[in-house]
């Protein structure tokens, strides 16, 4: 049917949302691929920051970890981790933060801490890392996640990072002045907060995806915006650059397992 994967269109659509002027706090995985795809296509001037302290980095391959040497080697400068979180993130210098998670709810709150009760978890997840403060201190938040009913849940087991809380003006009530999650980009669609309620609603469906498919992939009663768009498919150039980037990355990380 299509000549690209769900993960590829998710990454391409996320890349398109970034501009040359953005200062972007990058996470590992899909966010890293999207940010570097943007840099290698329409946004060569974008500033990429990884929480390990690297500012203005231009990696040739995607890092496996947040602190690979490639990031430091190609950065404008590398600062300490306390400086990164105090001056650059809390200082309000970051325009876009990228997040993902194991679970998300309809107001784009995220759980990366536990599945099940905290004291006796069914699955212990890695935890918050930088996310709790990224979620409130970046100008806006983009989220990339594969859309499944297991991940898109009616109620989170744990709020690791705050999205729109219970909706409406919940962010303002907590004294948070940033915009929070403005786009949730999945392998099937793009969701954006509905003005007023701040509930994430579908605003763009990827080519070939149906409403029924989206509803089935979501654990809450998913709603659709009145004006629904179809996502433009990835262009030949976007796919080409992304695949070359990932091929270089695979090649670079094929190490020698052993002691």
């Amino acid at each position: 049917m299509s000549d690209y994967t769900g993960n590829e269109i998710m990454t391409v659509v996320a890349a398109r949302a970034l501009s040359n002027e953005d200062v972007c706090f990058v996470g590992i995985g899909a966010p890293s691929a999207a940010c570097n795809l943007a840099r290698l296509t329409h946004a060569p001037g974008i500033t990429l920051i990884y929480e390990s302290g690297t500012i203005g980095t231009r990696p040739d391959v995607l890092p496996l970890s947040i602190g690979d040497g490639e990031l430091c080697d190609t950065a404008l400068t590398t600062v300490s981790v306390p400086e990164m979180f105090r001056y650059w993130l809390q200082g309000g210098r970051i325009t876009v933060g990228f997040l993902g998670g194991a679970q998300i709810d309809r107001f784009a709150n995220l759980n990366t801490t536990v599945v099940g009760p905290y004291a006796k978890p069914k699955v212990r997840l890695p935890g918050g890392g930088g996310a709790p403060e990224i979620a409130t201190q970046c100008g806006q938040i983009f989220i990339t996640m594969a859309q499944t009913p297991r991940a898109f849940v009616p109620k989170l087991d744990f709020i690791t990072s705050f999205g729109h809380g219970e909706g409406g003006d919940h962010r303002r009530r907590l004294g948070i002045s940033t915009r929070g999650p403005t786009r949730l980009i999945t392998d099937l669609a793009v969701l954006e907060p509905e003005p007023g309620t701040q509930e994430m609603v579908v605003t763009s469906m990827h080519p070939g995806v149906t409403r029924e498919q989206l509803t089935a992939a979501t654990g809450w009663a998913l709603r659709f915006a009145a004006e629904l768009r179809e996502t433009a498919p990835p262009s030949r150039e976007e796919l080409g650059v992304l695949r070359e980037l990932q091929e270089r990355t695979r090649h670079a990380h094929a190490g020698s397992p052993g002691g």
């Binding site: 981790v81 212990r124 709790p132």
Partner: protein, 274 residues
């Protein structure tokens, strides 16, 4: 911290600096993780440690799986880019090999808490944890009101470890230590701790030409130095060797089962003298 740093074999340095029941911070943000020193702590069978680390990484997965820790203070406990730390998960989910108390923070709070420890303050203040459930499960996350603006801010206790353990590129003849690349929170951890053990890639006569702003820990801030080439592997040392991403990927399979984990430690840690 009163004594001038001394060059010691790794086993003697760990024996002197790390005691049962200590609060220990082995730092290094992806880069310069002190694996060789951590392995020596495992070999010396230290017990009841409270381990501090922003990103526990494989080194704490190994220490936890070998039963060295009773408490973990951390902010992100995964195998970066790969997935879970299976030994950490087994301890939390099943209490194997023993129960592990978690004191869980965000990166921003941990970084601020080390900084406060180095600055000899009792607490760190940050605009953090807004809207999250973390303060509900960690009673050391509190709030205070700014006396000047009235803003409510998060407060966490300063981190003051008994011992900080880090890895660095170079020590000079006098025992001063130079760090380069991603420097993480190591300077803060060392200056926050009562004792500091540093492993280095090499000992040089002098550091030679360098930026006047290089990150240098003077000898008199350190307790012991051990020269351990490749002492950060499978993490890396900027300018010496790259991160062994293949090993991080392989660790997922090694650590998934208790048997394969123990076999790996027997062969690669316990069976090797430092």
């Amino acid at each position: 911290m009163s004594t001038r740093s001394r060059f010691l074999p790794l086993s003697a340095a760990v024996e002197e600096c790390v005691r049962d029941g200590d609060h220990v911070a082995m730092e290094g943000f992806t880069h310069l993780i002190p694996f060789a020193a951590g392995h020596e702590v495992i070999r010396q069978r230290r017990r009841r440690l409270t381990l501090y680390r922003m990103t526990p990484d494989l080194i704490y997965d190994q220490l936890i799986g070998m039963g060295a820790a009773e408490r973990l203070v951390f902010s992100w406990g995964g195998n970066p880019g790969v997935g879970s730390l299976h030994r950490l998960r087994d301890a939390v989910e099943n209490g194997w090999p023993g129960p592990l108390e978690l004191i869980e923070h965000s990166h921003a709070a941990m970084a601020n808490a080390y900084d406060a420890g180095a600055a000899n303050l009792p607490l760190a203040v940050l605009r953090g944890y807004l809207g999250t459930d973390l303060p509900r499960v960690n009673r050391t996350i509190r709030t205070l009101r700014c006396p000047f603006t009235g803003e409510e801010l998060a407060a966490v206790p300063a981190i003051r470890p008994d011992v900080a353990i880090i890895h660095a590129q170079k020590a000079d003849a006098e025992g001063n230590v130079l760090l380069e690349g991603i420097v993480g929170v190591q300077k803060q951890a060392v200056l926050a701790a009562r004792r500091a053990l540093v492993t280095v890639e090499e000992r040089v006569e002098s550091f030679g030409p360098r930026s006047p702003n290089s990150v240098i820990l003077p000898a008199w801030t350190l307790s012991a130095i051990s020269v351990v080439p490749r002492g950060a592997h499978p993490s890396y040392a900027h300018g010496y060797y790259k991160r062994d991403n293949g090993f991080y990927i392989a660790w997922d399979r090694i650590a998934r089962e208790r048997d394969s984990f123990q076999a790996w430690v027997r062969e690669h840690v316990l069976g090797k003298a430092s």
